[in-house]
Symmetry: C2
Subunit: 108 residues, 2 copies
């Protein structure tokens, strides 16, 4: 990934390939279930960080959760950029608007 001081220009596809290069062999060896356990651990750490006031830690925890999600997607052979474009590329999946008008009570 070029220019690692800033994420500007970082694409979903590049990130997924970067994570693939870093972790794919280990992830396949561990398997989907074991990898999902790590994701859950990081999600818990994110919950904790959201309650705290350490901004640097919060940024790291977001990055970790996203990295684990991408790593599971690699094991599952899902192209996340395409999946995101398909589901959200044309506005909210619920109401179809680019500024969602779904009720707060509905599942968005």
């Amino acid at each position: 990934m070029a220019d690692s001081d800033s994420g500007e220009g970082l694409s979903i596809q590049d990130l997924q390939q970067h994570i693939h290069r870093m972790y794919y062999d280990k992830d396949v060896a561990r398997g989907v279930d074991g990898t999902f356990m790590w994701l859950m651990e990081e999600v818990g750490e994110l919950a904790s960080a959201l309650r705290g006031d350490d901004r640097e830690n919060l940024k790291e925890e977001f990055a970790d959760v996203i990295a684990w999600l991408f790593t599971i997607a690699n094991v599952a052979d899902v192209n996340l950029a395409d999946a995101l474009a398909a589901k959200y590329g044309n506005g909210c999946p619920g109401c179809g608007k680019f500024e969602c008008t779904c009720s707060l009570d509905e599942k968005p």
Copy 2:
């Protein structure tokens, strides 16, 4: 987001702005905790999809979890592209390599 048939070229930054436009007002009204509950519901659906064999549903569930993560990052005012570049831009945070050599037993 341009060219919503394919995610090629979709940047982390663009996606976060797109999610912001769609959902920010609702997310702030709901609050971090309520929004996190929705994230957890989607994570559960992802776990279920990973056990099944419906590929289209699996892609959607990945997209949903990522969208909810991004939406929480907006409420928390965290720039995800920068957070990812900072944590993972120079290789594995654990071993520093672009092909991770951490032991399978360690926290990666």
